[in-house]
Symmetry: C2
Subunit: 296 residues, 2 copies
C-alpha cells in the first residue's frame, strides 16, 4: 500500500513527537517532515536532525501544505493549537493528536474544523516517565496499543488513514468512541498513577532511609509517580468524572481487603491474592489486535 | 578476613536458598554446603548441582556438624523447623532465616535455642515474583538490603557473623529490632503488594480486553501481584497489625487526593503529584549503607 500521507507536520516535538518523526522517517511513511516548536533553541535542534526537513516559527506556517498534522502538545493546549492552525490547513488535511484524554477535546475540535479538513483523535499508549526529544526513539510505539477515537460525524476515510499510519509505526489499533476511551484510561492508566502517587506521598511521612531499603517491588509499583505534575494536572481537569469513578471502584476493593485483614479472614485474603495474581498473570498475553469497539 | 563459617546447611532450597548456596560457593564463603528438601525429587536435583555437597532426608541429619544453618521455608513453617532441628545443632552453630516477617518469629525461636546455639533473624530484600530453585542466581542478593534483626538477648558475635555473611554476598546490611523491621516492611513491601492486588481485583471487573491495552505503567504498578498467595497469606497472619496501620496511612492519603479531585482543586492535585514525584525521583539514590538503627 502506498503511504497515505506525503507531508507530515509535527507540532511541538517532544518525546512522542520526536519518536513519531524518527519512526515515520525510518519507515519511509512520509516524504517530508515539518515541525513547529515554541522555543527557538528547540527549532534549531530540530533543524540538525536527519528526520526534520524544515522548522517554522509559527504553527500556521508549519502546517501549510501538509496532509497530516500531529499535535503533540500536552492536553491542555491541544484545542487552542487546533483552533490556531484550522484556517491554514490545506484541503483534505487530516489532523490528529497524542493526548491522554479524548472526550471533551474530540468534540470541541470536531466543531471547529473547516469543511474538507478532518480531525481524528489518537492516543498512542506509549511514553515514559521521562519527557523531551532527547529520549525520542523510532521504536517507542512498537507493539503498543493506539486508541483512535472518532465521533459520529468523523470522516471514515480519515479514520482509516490515521489508523493505518499508527499501524505502520508498529502499533495495535483500537477504535472506539472518545468517551469510552476516557473510561478505560481512567482505569488502566490514571488510576495506577493515582495509587503510585498516593503510595509515595504516604511513604514520604516515614523515615527517609526506608526508600533506600525497598526492593524492586516498591520501585516498580511507584515508577509512574515520576511523571510530569503539569501533565497529570491537565489529565485530571479533562477526565475528572471518570477518574472519580475509578477511584470509587478501587476504594470498594480496598475496603473488602482491609476488612478481611481486620477480621483475620485469612482464607478470604488468600482468595483475593489468588484472583489478583490470576489477573496479573493473564496480563502478559495480549488478548487482541486491531479491535473495533463500537460502543463497547 | 577468614570466612566465619565452614559448613552451611540450607533447609528447603528454593529461589532464595538456591541463590545463597550458589553465591556462597562462587565466593568461597563456606567449605561444605548441605541441604535438606522435603521432596525426594528436589533432593535428587540438588545432588546434581555443583554447589551441593550432600542432600539429606531429614532436617536433623542435614544440620549435623554445620556452624551455619539457613532456614529458607515460607514464614509459616520457620518456627516449626527451628524447633525440630534445635536439638541436633552443634555447639556454636548460628541459625538464621530469610522470612519476610520477624517480630513474633524471632522471639519464639530465641526462646527455644539450646545453650551455645544462636538464632539471628534475617530478611534479605531480594527475590522475585517467580519462585523455585530453577530461577536461583548467585547475584540475586547483590546491592540489595538485608535486614538483620537481633532481639535484646541475641549473641552479638553471632549477629556480626551473620551480617558479615550477607555482606559477603553483596548485600547492604541494616540491623534493627524485629518489630521495627515489621513496621518498615509493612510500608515498603506489604502495602505495595496490597495496592497491586487491589488494582488487579478492581480491573478484573472491567472488560477483559482492557489489560491488553495497558501501557508499561499498569504492568509495572501491578507486577508484584503475581506473588504466591500462600506466602502472602502467611505474611498477613504474621504482620496483621502493622499492615493495617500501613493501610490506614494509605487510606488517609487516598482521601486527600480524592477530595482534591472532587473539589476540582487542581492546584492541590498539582502539589500532590509534585510531592509524589519528588519522593519517587529520590528513590534512585540509595541513601545509606550498612546502617545500625537501634530504636529508629
Amino acid at each position: 500500500m502506498e503511504p497515505a500521507f506525503t507531508q507530515m507536520t509535527v507540532l511541538a516535538p517532544g518525546l512522542l513527537g520526536g519518536s513519531l518523526a524518527i519512526g515515520a522517517r525510518q519507515r519511509g511513511l512520509v516524504k517530508r517532515i515539518h515541525v513547529w516548536a515554541r522555543r527557538p533553541e528547540v527549532r534549531e535542534k530540530c533543524r540538525q536532525q536527519y528526520w526534520c526537513d524544515a522548522a517554522f516559527e509559527t504553527p500556521e506556517e508549519a502546517v501549510a501544505g501538509s496532509d497530516l498534522v500531529v499535535i503533540c502538545t500536552p492536553v491542555e493546549t491541544i484545542h487552542r493549537l487546533a483552533r490556531r492552525v484550522a484556517g491554514s490547513l490545506r484541503e483534505g488535511a487530516v489532523v490528529t493528536d497524542v493526548g491522554s484524554t479524548k472526550g471533551r477535546l474530540c468534540r470541541l475540535i470536531e466543531a471547529i474544523m473547516p469543511p474538507g479538513r478532518h480531525f481524528v483523535g489518537s492516543h498512542p499508549m506509549a511514553g515514559s516517565e521521562k519527557s523531551g526529544m532527547e529520549f525520542a526513539s523510532g521504536t517507542l510505539f512498537e507493539t503498543r496499543t493506539c486508541f483512535v477515537t472518532p465521533v459520529e460525524t468523523t470522516d471514515p476515510v480519515s479514520v482509516a488513514k490515521i489508523a493505518a499510519f499508527w499501524k505502520a509505526l508498529g502499533m495495535e489499533i483500537v477504535t472506539l468512541p472518545p468517551e469510552k476511551h476516557d473510561e478505560i484510561v481512567a482505569n488502566i492508566s490514571h488510576l495506577p498513577h493515582f495509587t503510585a502517587t498516593i503510595l509515595c506521598n504516604w511513604l514520604a511521612h516515614g523515615n527517609s532511609d526506608w526508600k533506600g531499603w525497598a526492593g524492586q517491588g516498591l520501585r516498580d509499583t511507584t515508577r509512574v509517580a515520576s511523571g510530569s505534575p503539569d501533565m497529570w494536572r491537565a489529565i485530571c481537569e479533562e477526565n475528572r468524572d471518570e477518574i472519580l469513578r475509578a477511584l470509587e471502584g478501587f476504594a470498594s476493593e480496598f475496603s473488602i481487603m482491609r476488612k478481611a485483614l481486620e477480621d483475620r479472614n485469612y482464607d478470604k485474603l488468600f482468595r483475593l491474592f489468588e484472583s489478583g495474581k490470576a489477573y496479573r498473570d493473564s496480563m502478559s498475553v495480549k488478548p487482541c489486535k486491531n479491535t473495533e469497539l463500537v460502543h463497547g
